[in-house]
């Protein structure tokens, strides 16, 4: 269990650093900055205390905000997906995920993909609605959610396959 905490702490720090030092500066096509730190929520153990998970996600979001001068946009969206994660998992994995023996690595590729995609979609929707904050610009919000969401998804999948979760 101790090594599990350690892995999560290291993962937390590395994801924050890689997000603010690399991906926040990517500016692909001038506006695409993928958000890879969502992987933390994707990788976080399922059987852990839920309140601690929500608190930790808030901490993760606020550390990113700290660096990128975005006020609390990242924290608001991260805490939202942290709260919604069980609901999303129930939707994707069905009743299976309630079992004690459930592991993310035992599920099919399609299920993992859907799970990650839903996390990113909800996160980006909350993030860009709050950032742009006007109904008049709904098209801009959709454009940003789709394009940046796609970039985040691709990068998260790449990172996910690089550092696979089999060990846990």
């Amino acid at each position: 269990m101790n090594s599990g905490y350690l892995i999560n702490i290291i993962r937390f720090i590395l994801l924050v650093l890689i997000q603010v030092l690399v991906f926040n500066r990517l500016n692909f096509f001038g506006f695409i900055n993928p958000m890879v730190y969502i992987l933390f929520l994707y990788w976080y153990p399922i059987k852990e205390n839920r309140a601690a998970f929500i608190g930790l996600s808030f901490l993760l979001g606020i550390s990113i905000d700290f660096f990128s001068d975005t006020m609390a946009l990242h924290s608001a969206s991260t805490v939202t997906i942290a709260y919604m994660r069980p609901a999303i998992m129930r939707f994707v994995f069905g009743i299976n995920y309630e079992f004690q023996s459930f592991k993310l690595s035992n599920t099919t590729k399609a299920q993992q993909f859907t799970f990650l995609a839903l996390l990113i979609l909800v996160h980006h929707l909350v993030y860009f609605s709050l950032e742009i904050f006007s109904i008049a610009n709904i098209l801009l919000i959709i454009k940003k959610v789709l394009s940046i969401g796609l970039a985040s998804l691709i990068l998260c999948l790449l990172f996910g396959s690089l550092f696979s979760v089999n060990k846990e």
């Binding site: 500066r25 500016n27 808030f58 700290f66 660096f67 609390a72 608001a76 805490v79 742009i132």
Partner: protein, 271 residues
């Protein structure tokens, strides 16, 4: 009482979520209408030092290019100096100096958001304070928003909250420079009356009404202009001289008269 406690225990995750969400929303919405929070920005000690460290490594990769830019600027300044017919020695009298300049470097740039802030490696120990102007050799960049001991954040002109006095060069027609968050290569100049003759390509410079920037600092050229909804003012797209994606060396301008001007304006408004 028992029921209330039961309710709290049953919904503790939901209540925690709502609580954290409200904190985030409060922090966010505050910044929509008002300045960036005083403590919660990247000029703080941790973020500043991490950005400073990463800047220390990456800065070497563009040294050649930056040196070339500085040489060009020196060349231009020397041209101006040598072509001035007479430079009086009395002009260096310190009481005649209106502005002082601090040089610095950008350690974190952003231009893809709606409210972009830039972090620089100069802070209170270099006597940088809030509301000083920041320029590059090509044109204006923004206004100092928050400072810590060693770092400061700059509200970029690519920020929805940004509002800077600007005018058309060699005239006295002035307006406000704002940004519509569409593209990082252009900003908008509004409130120029329709009777002003305009041509595409005219230069836009800072106006004299600002106590932050000196007059006649270049901003950009007119790319396109249109009448706004009221049909009595122009809405002008200004192509920036600065490439906002590639900024390294900056100058911070301190207007020594600013305090006096503000005090006077304050007094006038209160009467």
């Amino acid at each position: 009482m028992q029921q209330i406690i039961n309710f709290i225990i049953r919904y503790k995750n939901f209540l925690l979520y709502i609580f954290l969400l409200i904190i985030s929303l409060a922090l966010t919405i505050q910044s929509h209408s008002y300045h960036q929070s005083k403590f919660f920005n990247s000029s703080n000690w941790i973020a500043g030092n991490i950005y400073g460290f990463s800047h220390g490594i990456t800065t070497y990769f563009s040294l050649d290019e930056e040196n070339e830019k500085l040489l060009q600027e020196n060349k231009r300044l020397r041209n101006q100096l040598f072509n001035k017919e007479f430079v009086s020695s009395t002009r260096t009298d310190s009481s005649a100096i209106k502005y002082t300049i601090v040089s610095g470097q950008v350690i974190k740039n952003s231009y893809a958001d709606h409210r972009n802030y830039i972090t620089i490696n100069r802070g209170e120990k270099d006597s940088v304070k809030q509301d000083m102007g920041v320029i590059t050799d090509l044109g204006i960049l923004g206004i100092i928003e928050n400072t810590s001991n060693k770092f400061a954040t700059v509200q970029s002109i690519l920020n929805e909250n940004s509002n800077i006095n600007a005018k058309i060069k060699n005239t006295t027609h002035f307006g406000s420079l704002v940004w519509d968050a569409k593209t990082y290569t252009s900003v908008q100049l509004i409130d120029i009356p329709r009777l002003v003759p305009l041509t595409v390509g005219d230069t836009i410079v800072t106006g004299a009404m600002s106590s932050i920037f000196p007059e006649n600092i270049p901003i950009g050229t007119i790319k396109r202009f249109d009448l706004d909804i009221s049909k009595s003012f122009y809405q002008i797209d200004v192509a920036l001289f600065n490439d906002m994606t590639n900024i390294k060396n900056i100058y911070i301008i301190n207007n020594l008269d600013r305090k006096e001007v503000l005090e006077l304006e304050d007094k006038t408004n209160n009467e």
